[in-house]
Assembly symmetry: C2
């Protein structure tokens, strides 16, 4: 038998943040594709569209008029999945029909007054303004809510219903499933090793750097060893004393702004398109959990981009993935190498 070669031979990798295994089948990159192709993005968005409810000065469907905003603009989602004051379901200890309450709020934040100014083409100062707006919202919501999820769905392929650069912030009275699992795994590691898992992980990734995409003094961008999506990345704070976004110092804010600009520029340059993804930040829980131990946490961001082969060919997480286990084609090391070698300074649209 041949020797094992991770770029040729299927294998599984363990995600220590979720306890789940991922099937890696790199030889599968060789198959032809005749399935659905994504509609290619409209690349020539106008700066201003009077019919777009996220633009400055436009009246939204609920009758409210947006201010003539000049940088970021935050408002409560007109159709929130989480409302603040809502009756709670009766308690039940029936193991098959368990229900529990959910309170919360959903906000929308526009990043910029211009519809065609996505993060990679914004200036570092403009991105820092966005980060500061995230911190302001986070601080307000963190007092009241157990979890504050800042996330961006970008691109029609990720269900984004509006092309104007924006994110959402959903705050909930409960710790949702994914952070609950992560909190548990981070804590177990900390109990055994006495150090935050992601602090150890960053150190280890810096040794031979095969999965490193970008490094700067405060952040490391890697395609994690256990990545599911083809070009999935994490931005990890190098100082684990940063537990939540509001712990960032002003120099860390500047460095986060720099890696966001560089990473999203590389992403757009990969397939020469406005690269779709869902991304969000994870840090220690909030609300009543602000009083809990949070030594096991390290603040980080996760990017889940669906594209696989080109601007129109995505990886579908269906069938085997839904019923059995995540599966990926190219290896995380191959994805990291491609992202690392791309220009992170000059955006393809400047050509």
């Amino acid at each position: 038998e041949d020797e094992f070669d991770a770029t040729e031979h299927q294998h599984q990798r363990y995600n220590p943040l979720s306890g789940q295994w991922i099937l890696v089948s790199p030889h599968r990159m060789k198959r032809p594709w005749s399935g659905q192709e994504e509609a290619s993005q409209k690349e020539d968005l106008p700066e201003f569209d009077p019919s777009n409810p996220l633009c400055p000065g436009v009246t939204r469907p609920n009758g409210e008029k947006n201010p003539d905003y000049k940088s970021t603009f935050v408002f409560t989602n007109d159709f929130p999945a989480l409302l603040e004051d809502i009756p709670v379901p009766p308690e039940s200890d029936d193991p098959l029909f368990q229900t529990r309450g959910a309170r919360g709020t959903c906000k929308v934040m526009c990043f910029h007054p211009k519809s065609n100014k996505t993060l990679p083409v914004m200036s570092l100062t403009e991105i820092s303004t966005v980060i500061n707006a995230w911190i302001d919202e986070f601080k307000k919501l963190a007092r009241k809510y157990t979890w504050v999820q800042i996330f961006e769905n970008k691109g029609a392929a990720m269900g984004c219903s509006n092309p104007h650069p924006h994110c959402q912030i959903w705050a909930s009275s409960f710790l949702p499933t994914e952070p609950e699992i992560k909190d548990r795994y981070l804590r177990e590691y900390f109990v055994i090793y006495g150090r935050p898992l992601l602090e150890d992980y960053v150190k280890r990734e810096l040794i031979n750097k095969e999965r490193v995409v970008i490094e700067n003094p405060d952040f490391l961008v890697v395609v994690p060893f256990w990545a599911c999506y083809p070009f999935e990345t994490m931005i990890i704070a190098r100082d684990s004393r940063v537990k939540r976004i509001n712990n960032l110092t002003s120099s860390q804010i500047a460095n986060l702004s720099a890696v966001i600009k560089e990473l999203t520029t590389k992403y757009d340059n990969l397939f020469k398109c406005s690269f779709p993804y869902s991304m969000g930040f994870h840090g220690a829980p909030t609300g009543e959990m602000l009083d809990y131990d949070d030594l096991h946490w390290t603040f980080h961001a996760i990017y889940y981009p669906p594209l696989l082969r080109s601007s129109t060919i995505r990886k579908f997480m269906v069938g085997f993935e839904l019923l059995c286990q995540a599966q990926r084609d190219l290896t995380p090391e191959q994805a990291a190498e491609r992202l690392r070698n791309l220009d992170g300074k000059k955006h393809y649209s400047e050509d």
Copy 2:
């Protein structure tokens, strides 16, 4: 405060098969939609397409010629994610970089020689032939492999790269993540209550039937209490002595054929389109696990259909769903009521 009303007020529901919570936000059905719409299906597929590698008599890209098959046709996937004889990665006890081996095989099964004969428009006898072919393949693979996943990705929206009616069968030397979790939860319930979880669940759903879509002597079709996808359903064997697909008696095969035809007809009639979904069967593990205790298992099928509002508007599992927790809009009871009231005998194309 008002009284709690599950069709008006957001709440969470617990999935006892996975230990995860789902956020239900029914008031959200009121929001407008301006995001991506799916390309509508080509409804007028020809019976035969000489360029389609799944059609009878066609030569596939790898040079093999399909036989002139008359009912089902099974072959090994030309681009499998799992290969049989492959070197295994070195063992490692590093908690952050764990790798393990994976062996397996991937097969493709065509259901019918005609490209336009999807399951709802096949005869009951033709569907029973498919079920018998599933059983034959399952039996062969179950001897060697720990898990045999029969699944169908249907429709371009679910990443299906070929419209000819077919499914896939992936067999693996390991118990994949989802079945591993389900095995654990089913076992825990059995240890406490002394009965299979799904046997109890079926009994409970038959009391007021608000989530029941179809019942026949051998199977119950429900929108599970904890459904994620808008019109997700389960087909559950009413007799828990059916642990795996190969335990089905001939009358159970006939009744499974009947519920598959009725359910997929209702699905197609819902939005008057060939309804996309991923579906698959789950039963007790196989291979070396054939010798394990399997009293906690009940054979069942799961359907994950992405459509939400129409043939072109789907639910996106992105952002909050990927980073935090599954979220659905209409309640499982509302979805079940719609499916229950649809015609399950006459397909919309016959109008």
